[in-house]
Symmetry: C2
Subunit: 83 residues, 2 copies
């Protein structure tokens, strides 16, 4: 299960592009605020497993490669919980 | 430029999974409501160009393959505009 509080600490890195409030600072990046937790997990894993290329995916592949499975669950819980 | 009104007509198909209001009916699919227009275009093109695999991407690849460039712009304008 994801721990949103832990996710919030980890999200400091993500905030640079996705905003700490989950509203992306760059229009080419997705807003994450209130996104579906399960979809967030599935997308981060897709980047981590290099199943997403094209667009700006190389930036996200690098980031996702640094995340553990628990990090991914915590981050998903954090961003999905932002209302 | 995307035409949100045209996008709304096209979105009838998308609504089955993403909700006509942009809130996904299945947790494994992303909410699209208020997502960044540029990111929506980039994602739909990534599915259309088979640059996204893994997870439930095969469903979306099939859908995206039916969309023209203008459809993609119109849909992006429609969903990005939902507040």
């Amino acid at each position: 299960k994801g721990d949103a509080a832990e996710g919030k600490k980890k999200a400091v890195v993500c905030g640079a592009c996705h905003g700490t409030d989950g509203i992306a600072v760059i229009p080419g990046y997705p807003n994450l605020k209130g996104q579906n937790e399960q979809y967030l997990i599935s997308s981060m894993n897709a980047y981590k497993n290099n199943q997403r290329s094209g667009g700006l995916s190389n930036v996200m592949q690098a980031q996702a490669s640094l995340l553990s499975e628990q990090d991914i669950k915590n981050l998903a819980a954090y961003y999905a919980g932002l209302k």
